[in-house]
């Protein structure tokens, strides 16, 4: 009997599973492979047997599934999802709902310590398979990041948002961009996707 020490606090990625299995009965293997077969983060009911999306740096690791920019009137200015396209709608819902948390956090009277004015708002709420992080710029523009449901370091999140903010500023400083309109710039999209790919690799290593 192999002594296994798996803390429930740190869930096991499928590969860990595969690696851990000693010689077991075949049907156990089958059951497990099936059991682990749908352990993608984006594992809604629609991922019957779809592989892990290629856009994640290390499969099963933390990855950003969606980033969004939300304008003054809580209208989406930019929203890009990095999973299969069919998840886009769910992500829209998640991002939209997270605005409630931002409102709650920002204009809640009882929190008035100056430190609370910092732009990084932290984890907004964990939902089905995701974690939603928020960021509110000085100009009342909201950035929202949705990651897979794994432990995310605060530092990573802050770091991501910092880069993202820089990208955003460059995008809106384009003289041809009209303030308050959606961001359609292709270069911005490209830059964002590189930032997303590099997520977590910066400080976790």
């Amino acid at each position: 009997m192999v002594p296994v020490d798996v803390k429930p606090s740190s869930p096991i990625s499928p590969h860990e599973w595969a690696g851990r299995e000693p010689s077991q009965s075949p049907e156990l293997l089958r059951g497990l492979s099936l059991a682990t077969g749908r352990r993608q983060p984006a594992g809604g009911r629609f991922l019957r047997s779809s592989p892990v999306t290629g856009s994640s740096p290390l499969p099963g690791g933390i990855m950003i599934v969606c980033v969004a920019v939300v304008g003054h009137q809580n209208n989406p200015l930019y929203l890009q999802s990095f999973t299969e396209a069919d998840d886009a709608l769910k992500l829209h819902h998640i991002v939209h709902c997270s605005l409630d948390v931002i409102d709650e956090r920002v204009n809640n009277p009882k929190r008035s310590a100056p430190t609370l004015n910092e732009t990084f708002l932290g984890l907004l709420y964990p939902t089905e398979n995701y974690k939603v992080y928020g960021y509110l710029t000085n100009t009342k523009v909201k950035f929202i990041m949705v990651t897979t449901d794994l432990e995310v370091k605060d530092a990573d999140a802050r770091n991501f948002f910092r880069k993202f903010h820089a990208a955003y500023v460059d995008a809106v400083s384009n003289p041809f961009h009209v303030p308050g309109k959606k961001i359609a710039s292709r270069s911005f999209g490209a830059r964002v996707s590189t930032i997303v790919k590099s997520f977590g690799s910066g400080t976790t290593s």
């Binding site: 910092e118 732009t119 710029t137 910092r162 820089a166 500023v169 809106v172 400083s173 303030p179 308050g180």
Partner: protein, 198 residues
């Protein structure tokens, strides 16, 4: 760096010259609005950039201070010299040596001649007009920046004598009386304020 500065000065001068002289020579107020609008967009975008990496402002005073200190020194490498307020939303910014006016000078001949005073007076107020035209752009800058920070307001300019003074008022009392034309790009800010650069 100095080159860049002088370039900016030249650009501002040239822009004003083009708008006042070429495009809208007939109707100066239209030219003023265009220049102010350009300033608005520039201020809008600059404030976006300069407020990165800093906690959100909790009230208007902080935002104004930001304008006076960081924003101004990013633009002119000097801070606003004097900030007054009546605590009812009226703020008075004052720059004792406003960079973009230091290059402005009247023709000395028309300055110290007293041949026919109405003639010299005419020349004098054309000079005043050009300088006020020069001031519409910074007005737009301030208004754009503050608007982007959620304080929708209106800025207008006046200069007593060179070097120019910049004075801003924000009376909260005239919330709706602000004409829509004062904010060509539209503002989402909650309360309207009124600015005035002197």
């Amino acid at each position: 760096m100095a080159i860049a500065e002088s370039c900016v000065d030249a650009v501002v001068m040239e822009m004003v010259a083009v708008y006042c002289g070429g495009l809208y020579a007939a109707k100066p107020e239209l030219a003023a609005r265009r220049i102010e609008a350009i300033g608005f967009q520039v201020g809008h975008q600059l404030s976006e950039r300069y407020t990165m990496e800093r906690p959100r402002f909790s009230d208007h005073l902080e935002a104004i201070k930001f304008i006076c200190k960081d924003f101004w020194s990013e633009l002119f490498k000097k801070q606003i010299d004097n900030l007054k307020t009546n605590h009812r939303g009226t703020f008075v910014l004052q720059d004792n040596r406003f960079r973009w006016l230091t290059r402005v000078s009247l023709d000395p001949y028309t300055e110290n001649t007293d041949s026919t005073e109405n003639d010299s007076a005419a020349l004098g107020d054309t000079a005043a007009q050009t300088t006020t035209m020069l001031l519409y752009f910074p007005c737009g800058l301030i208004r754009g920046a503050l608007t982007n920070l959620g304080i929708s307001c209106s800025v207008s300019a006046d200069m007593s004598n060179l070097p120019a003074y910049l004075i801003c008022f924000m009376p909260v009392t005239i919330i709706d009386s602000l004409p829509k034309s004062a904010s060509p790009l539209g503002t989402h800010g909650g309360m309207d304020n009124y600015f005035w650069v002197l």
